[in-house]
C-alpha cells in the first residue's frame, strides 16, 4: 500500500533518497535545506547507513565523493552559499567520474542574500559553477510526486553515468508541507550497479558512448583515481591526444544519452498559442495560470522542464513549430530565458516574467503576462 501523507518538501527528498538506496550522507547546516540533514541523522543509523555532519560544505562533498569511491550511494544537501563552496568538488566528481547527488534548495542571493526567501537564481551556477569544460545533470521537480520521483531519478542517473547530479529545489518547495503519495518500493526503478571486480588498471578505458562499471576502490585490484587530467589508467596525463579523448568521453556519456536523461511535462500545448516555459516553484503558479487562461478562452500551455541541464532543447524546439509566442517565467533576473531564446527560431515572440525579490509569482501575475502576450 502506498502511503498518503502530508510532508515537507525537504522530507520528501530525504525519504526518496533513502528509497533510492542512499547509504551515505554528509552535510552542513544551512537554511533552507537543514531538514534533509536532520531527517538523515535520525533515520540513517536506524537503517545501518552512514550520516555525518562535516565542518563545512567543501568537506561535505569531499566526504561524499570519498564514500562514493568506496562503493556507497551518497548525497549532500545545501543552499546558495554552501553550493558556492561545493563548486571545486563538483569539478573533482566530474573529473574522476564519481556518482554523487547534490541537493540545492535555492534561496535569495548573491552572498548571504535572503536565507528564508526562495529564488531560482542558481540555474546558471548549476550549469557552469565549477571551472573547466564539464557535463552536468540537473533535475528540478515542482510538484509533490515529482519531489519523490526526481530524487530517485537523480540517484539513478548519477549511478548510470558516473557524474554528479544536482537536484534543484527552492525555499518554497523545501519548506512547504504538501499532500504526497509515497509510492511502494518496487513501483519505481532503482538503478543498482552490477557487482563487479576490478581486474586491471584500465578503469577509464572505453569508447565514446560506452558505459563501463563505475570506478570503485577495494574491488580486488588497487587503482589510482586523480583530479588531474588522466589517461585510461587514471594516471596524470597532459598528452594532447589523451586529454582530448578524455574530455570528449566525459561530455559524450551525457550528450549521447539525452533521451534517457531529459524529462519534461507538457500541459495544454497541442493547440497553444502561448507557451509558458517554467520549472520548480514558478511552474506551479504557471500551471494554475495556464488553466485560468484556458477558462477565459486564452489558448495557453505549459512546458515544465524537469531536467533543466542538459536543457530540453529538442522537445522545446518541436513545440515552436506550432506555437509562436513564449513566456519564460523564472525567479531570477533572466537566466534560463537565454536557453529558450537560443532554441526559439526567429519569428517566435519572446517575453519573460522575471523577479528576484524573494516573492514567488502568484498565478494571477502569470495570467496577466499570458494575456498580455496573447493580445
Amino acid at each position: 500500500m502506498s502511503a498518503r501523507k502530508v510532508l515537507q518538501g525537504n522530507i520528501i527528498i530525504a525519504k526518496a533518497a533513502l528509497a533510492a538506496g542512499c547509504d551515505f550522507f554528509a552535510g552542513y547546516p544551512i537554511t533552507p535545506s537543514s531538514e534533509i540533514a536532520q531527517y538523515m541523522s535520525k533515520e540513517m543509523p536506524r537503517m545501518d547507513r552512514t550520516f555525518i555532519q562535516m565542518e563545512d560544505e567543501i568537506a561535505s562533498l569531499g566526504a561524499c565523493i570519498g564514500a562514493s569511491l568506496a562503493g556507497r550511494k551518497t548525497m549532500t544537501a545545501t543552499s546558495g552559499p554552501g553550493f558556492s563552496l561545493m563548486q571545486e568538488h563538483i569539478g573533482m566528481a566530474v573529473m574522476a567520474e564519481v556518482p554523487v547527488v547534490i541537493v540545492n534548495v535555492q534561496r535569495g542571493g548573491p552572498s548571504t542574500g535572503m536565507p528564508t526567501k526562495p529564488a531560482q537564481a542558481d540555474m546558471m551556477q548549476t550549469r557552469w559553477g565549477t571551472h573547466g569544460d564539464h557535463p552536468i545533470i540537473a533535475l528540478y521537480p515542482a510538484f509533490a510526486d515529482e519531489m519523490f520521483s526526481e530524487t530517485v531519478r537523480a540517484f539513478n542517473l548519477a549511478e548510470k553515468y558516473w557524474n554528479p547530479v544536482v537536484l534543484l529545489s527552492d525555499e518554497v518547495l523545501g519548506k512547504a508541507h504538501m499532500d504526497v503519495e509515497i509510492p511502494d518500493p518496487g513501483t519505481y526503478e532503482v538503478y543498482w550497479e552490477k557487482p563487479h571486480q576490478v581486474v586491471d588498471l584500465n578503469i577509464y578505458d572505453r569508447q565514446i558512448g560506452e558505459n563501463p562499471p563505475r570506478v570503485d576502490f577495494f574491488k580486488g585490484y588497487p587503482i589510482h583515481i586523480d583530479g588531474l587530467e588522466h589517461d585510461a589508467h587514471g594516471w596524470p596525463s597532459f598528452d594532447a591526444k589523451t586529454v582530448d579523448k578524455m574530455q570528449r568521453l566525459r561530455m559524450q556519456k551525457i550528450y549521447q544519452n539525452l533521451d534517457d536523461i531529459i524529462r519534461y511535462k507538457e500541459y495544454y500545448l497541442d493547440d497553444a498559442e502561448v507557451l509558458v516555459f517554467s520549472f520548480g516553484i514558478s511552474a506551479r503558479s504557471a500551471l494554475a495560470a495556464v488553466k485560468a487562461a484556458r477558462e477565459q478562452g486564452v489558448k495557453a500551455g505549459l512546458f515544465q522542464a524537469l531536467t533543466v541541464w542538459p536543457f530540453p532543447r529538442a522537445a522545446l524546439q518541436e513545440r515552436f513549430q506550432r506555437t509562436k509566442k513564449v513566456l519564460t517565467v523564472e525567479m531570477n533576473l533572466g537566466q534560463m530565458k537565454y536557453e529558450v531564446e537560443r532554441v526559439a527560431p526567429p519569428g517566435v515572440e519572446k517575453r519573460t516574467l522575471l523577479r528576484a525579490n524573494g516573492m514567488p509569482f502568484s498565478p494571477d501575475e502569470v495570467l496577466a503576462a499570458i494575456k498580455e502576450l496573447a493580445k
Binding site: A26, P45, D48, M54, G66, R72, F218, Y221, H224, P236
Partner: protein, 278 residues
C-alpha cells in the same frame, strides 16, 4: 624484489621531485611500514591533496586518490566511514595541511577518525615555486616574503594537541629508522594520527636562505631538532626556535569515530526508536 617493493608502483616512475628531496625517502619508509605490517595492497588507500606531497600516492601500488588542495582529509573521512576496516593514509604538505586544509585538520583530530596522516613539513610551497607557508619559520626569505617572513609559524605539535588529537609525533628525514618506526606505530594506532616529518626543500626554501644543497639543509634540520627529553631542559626562550622529536601524544582510551558511530550510535538508534517520524 624486496618485500616493500610490492607496495611501489614502479611503472609510474620517475617522480616529479627534485634530486635530494626528502619525499622519496618518506615514500620508501611508508612502503617499508606497509611491508612490516604485511598488509594486502587492496586493503590500503593512500589519499593526498595538492603539492609535491600530493603527487606521492601515484607511486604506491595500493588504492590511491589524488584530490583537491587541502581537502584530502575530507575524502579520507568519507572513505574511512564507508570502509572502516581499511587502512586510510593521508599524505599532506605543510601548506596543504595547515593553510588551506587547516579547518579539516583540526576537525579530523577532534573527531578522532582513524585516518593516518603523514604531514611533510618542508616549510614552503614547493610545487608553486617557493612561497611562504604557515610553517615557514619567521624571518625566512621566500618568493612572497622577499623582505623576510613577519608571521609566526604554527606549531603542529601544540596545535594538534589542543585539537585533542590522539596521536601526535614528529620526526625528521635524517632519522630513518626512528621515522619508519613512528610511521608504523601510527598505522597501528586506532584513532586519528599525525606524524609530522621535517623534510628539506633546499631548492625552494634553502636556496633563498643560504642552504641550497640538500646536505646543508638536512644539517640545518638536525641542528634545530632534538629529543623531547633534551627539549624539556631548555628555557622557554631557548625552546622557541627548536623542534622536539618523538611521539608526543598517544592516547588509546578515546574511542575511534567509526567505532563510535557503528558500535554505539547505530545500536542506540535501532534499539530506542526514540523519536518516531511525524
Amino acid at each position: 624484489m624486496r618485500d616493500y617493493e610490492k607496495y611501489i608502483r614502479y611503472r609510474t616512475f620517475p617522480t616529479p621531485w627534485c634530486p635530494g628531496c626528502g619525499d622519496g625517502v618518506i615514500l620508501k619508509l611508508i612502503a617499508m611500514a606497509f611491508a612490516e605490517l604485511n598488509l594486502d595492497p587492496d586493503d590500503i588507500i593512500v589519499v593526498a591533496g595538492i603539492g609535491c606531497s600530493g603527487r606521492m600516492p601515484t607511486y604506491f601500488n595500493t588504492n590511491t586518490l589524488h584530490t583537491t588542495h587541502g581537502r584530502a582529509l575530507t575524502f579520507a573521512t568519507g572513505i574511512k566511514l564507508a570502509r572502516p576496516e581499511k587502512l586510510v593514509v593521508v599524505i599532506s604538505g605543510d601548506g596543504d595541511a595547515t593553510a588551506i586544509g587547516g579547518n579539516h585538520l583540526i576537525h579530523a583530530a577532534r573527531r578522532n577518525i582513524g585516518i593516518k596522516m603523514i604531514l611533510i613539513n618542508n616549510g614552503i610551497y614547493g610545487m608553486t615555486g617557493g612561497q611562504v607557508s604557515p610553517l615557514t619559520p619567521p624571518t625566512f626569505f621566500t618568493e612572497t616574503t622577499p623582505y623576510g617572513n613577519i608571521e609566526p609559524h604554527f606549531n603542529v605539535r601544540t596545535l594538534l594537541t589542543a585539537a585533542e588529537a590522539s596521536f601526535v609525533a614528529r620526526e625528521t628525514v635524517n632519522r630513518l629508522m626512528q621515522l619508519k618506526q613512528v610511521i608504523k606505530k601510527s598505522f597501528q594506532h586506532k584513532g586519528f594520527s599525525v606524524v609530522e616529518v621535517m623534510s628539506n626543500c633546499h631548492v625552494n626554501l634553502g636556496r633563498r636562505n643560504k642552504m641550497k644543497s640538500p646536505l646543508v639543509m638536512t644539517k640545518y634540520i638536525r641542528d634545530i631538532t632534538m629529543n623531547m627529553a633534551d627539549f624539556e631542559k631548555l628555557s622557554p626562550a631557548e625552546q622557541a626556535p627548536k623542534y622536539p622529536l618523538g611521539v608526543f601524544v598517544e592516547k588509546t582510551e578515546r574511542l575511534e569515530y567509526t567505532d563510535l558511530y557503528y558500535n554505539h550510535i547505530v545500536p542506540v538508534a535501532q534499539g530506542s526508536g526514540a523519536r518516531g517520524e511525524k
